[in-house]
């Protein structure tokens, strides 16, 4: 049997095997994204993926799309520039919880506030994998990490709530166990005109699972399966995660709001009237 995996056409196969640990959920999240772009009508040369630093940051390098691996925490500013210079592109930011919400936290809330037309996929594995398992802004209280040897004492962010109250037009959460739902959410989010956010809960067996005695990647996946509750349209105030509690999944927010670029064109047209030529990208 020499048939080729149909995913290979979206992957830089010369870079395989990937660097991710056995049982890491990142590759599964990539499969969801591939499935989302597979049957999306946007041509592939109009989709670009931007990642920051970290294990999830590797995604940009593995996808055979126009992609960019930015400095730590900066995928959203880079993606904003990309989108504004060429508004026809569908720009997807694929990065981790540490990158997007610690060093990149301010960029996230402001891009959401402006309703920049970006799709943010945050793979949340509750730790900094690449640098040795330190605490992140999403590590639950009591969870062990290399910098919280007695258990974490800091309140974590509730990411869907943060996205919702910062102004995102689409907010969903799935785990990598929910492959089909996650793929559907990614497809929907890419079609929204505005700032869309998907949190994908994923196992980091090497640094989070092992230290917290949850077990290997498969055990973590089973735990996601057993502990998740699907409840679309839950108020995002009520979807915070705790250490061993339920994981509420689903689509929480889906609303319409004028995107940054549309707002720009509307306001400039109001000001300059017939002299204003709507901005459609750098010519």
């Amino acid at each position: 049997m020499s048939a080729k995996n149909p995913r290979n056409q979206y992957l830089r196969t010369e870079r395989m095997p990937n660097i991710w640990c056995p049982g890491c959920g990142l590759g599964t999240a990539v499969n969801c994204f591939i499935s989302a772009i597979e049957d999306c009508e946007t041509p592939l040369d109009q989709i670009s993926v931007v990642s920051g630093i970290g294990c999830t940051g590797r995604v940009a390098g593995y996808l055979k799309l126009d992609s960019f691996h930015t400095t730590h925490g900066r995928p959203i500013p880079f993606a904003t520039g990309l989108k504004l210079s060429n508004p026809k592109l569908k720009v997807v930011v694929f990065s981790g919880d540490g990158d997007l919400f610690a060093i990149g936290g301010n960029h996230f809330i402001h891009a959401a506030r402006r309703n920049m037309d970006l799709t943010i996929i945050c793979v949340n594995n509750f730790t900094y994998g690449m640098t040795g398992g330190q605490v992140t802004p999403t590590t639950p209280i009591d969870a062990f990490s290399s910098t919280t040897p007695y258990g974490n004492i800091e309140e974590p962010f509730n990411l869907p709530f943060l996205a919702d109250c910062s102004g995102a037009v689409y907010v969903a959460r799935w785990t990598v166990f929910h492959v089909r739902q996650a793929a559907r959410a990614m497809r929907e989010a890419m079609h929204k005109n505005g700032f869309s956010f998907i949190e994908i809960i994923s196992p980091c067996p090497t640094l989070y699972g092992r230290r917290n005695k949850i077990g290997d990647g498969l055990k973590m996946m089973q735990a996601f399966k057993d502990n998740s509750v699907i409840a679309d349209e839950t108020d995002t105030r009520n979807v915070a995660l705790d250490f061993r509690g339920k994981i509420i999944c689903g689509k929480f927010v889906d609303r319409e709001k004028t995107s940054f670029l549309d707002m720009y064109n509307i306001k400039m047209a109001e000001r300059f009237g017939p002299f204003y030529e709507p901005y459609e990208g750098i010519k």
Binding site: M1, A3, N5, P6, R7, N8, L11, M16, P17, N18, W20, C21, P22, G23, C24, G25, L26, G27, T28, V30, N31, C32, S35, F177, V179, R180, A183, D216, G217, L218, M221, Q222
Partner: protein, 83 residues
């Protein structure tokens, strides 16, 4: 690869790239038809890749392909031309 029984025409087929596998077991655990099992063999990295112990049951749903973080397996529906 285990040989398929001639009598039944499989509706799906599963293809495994043994060298890419890191033995996470996701495909084995989440295949809805229990087609896969770890094999005894080692690949060159020292992992046990899966093999199809029950290939006739495969429905070609490609869930194994969706779960595999290493792009090492996929399922496809088989069209009916072969008897």
């Amino acid at each position: 690869m285990a040989e398929a029984k001639k009598s039944k025409r499989p509706r799906g087929t599963v293809v495994i790239s043994v060298e890419l596998c890191k033995g996470c077991g996701f495909c084995i655990a989440f295949c809805p038809s229990a087609v896969l099992e770890f094999s005894e063999m080692f690949n060159s990295k020292g992992y046990h890749p899966p093999h199809a112990v029950n290939p006739d049951a495969c429905i070609g749903c490609d869930l194994c392909g969706m779960y595999c973080p290493d792009f090492a397996i996929f399922g496809a529906r088989v069209t009916r031309e072969v008897a």
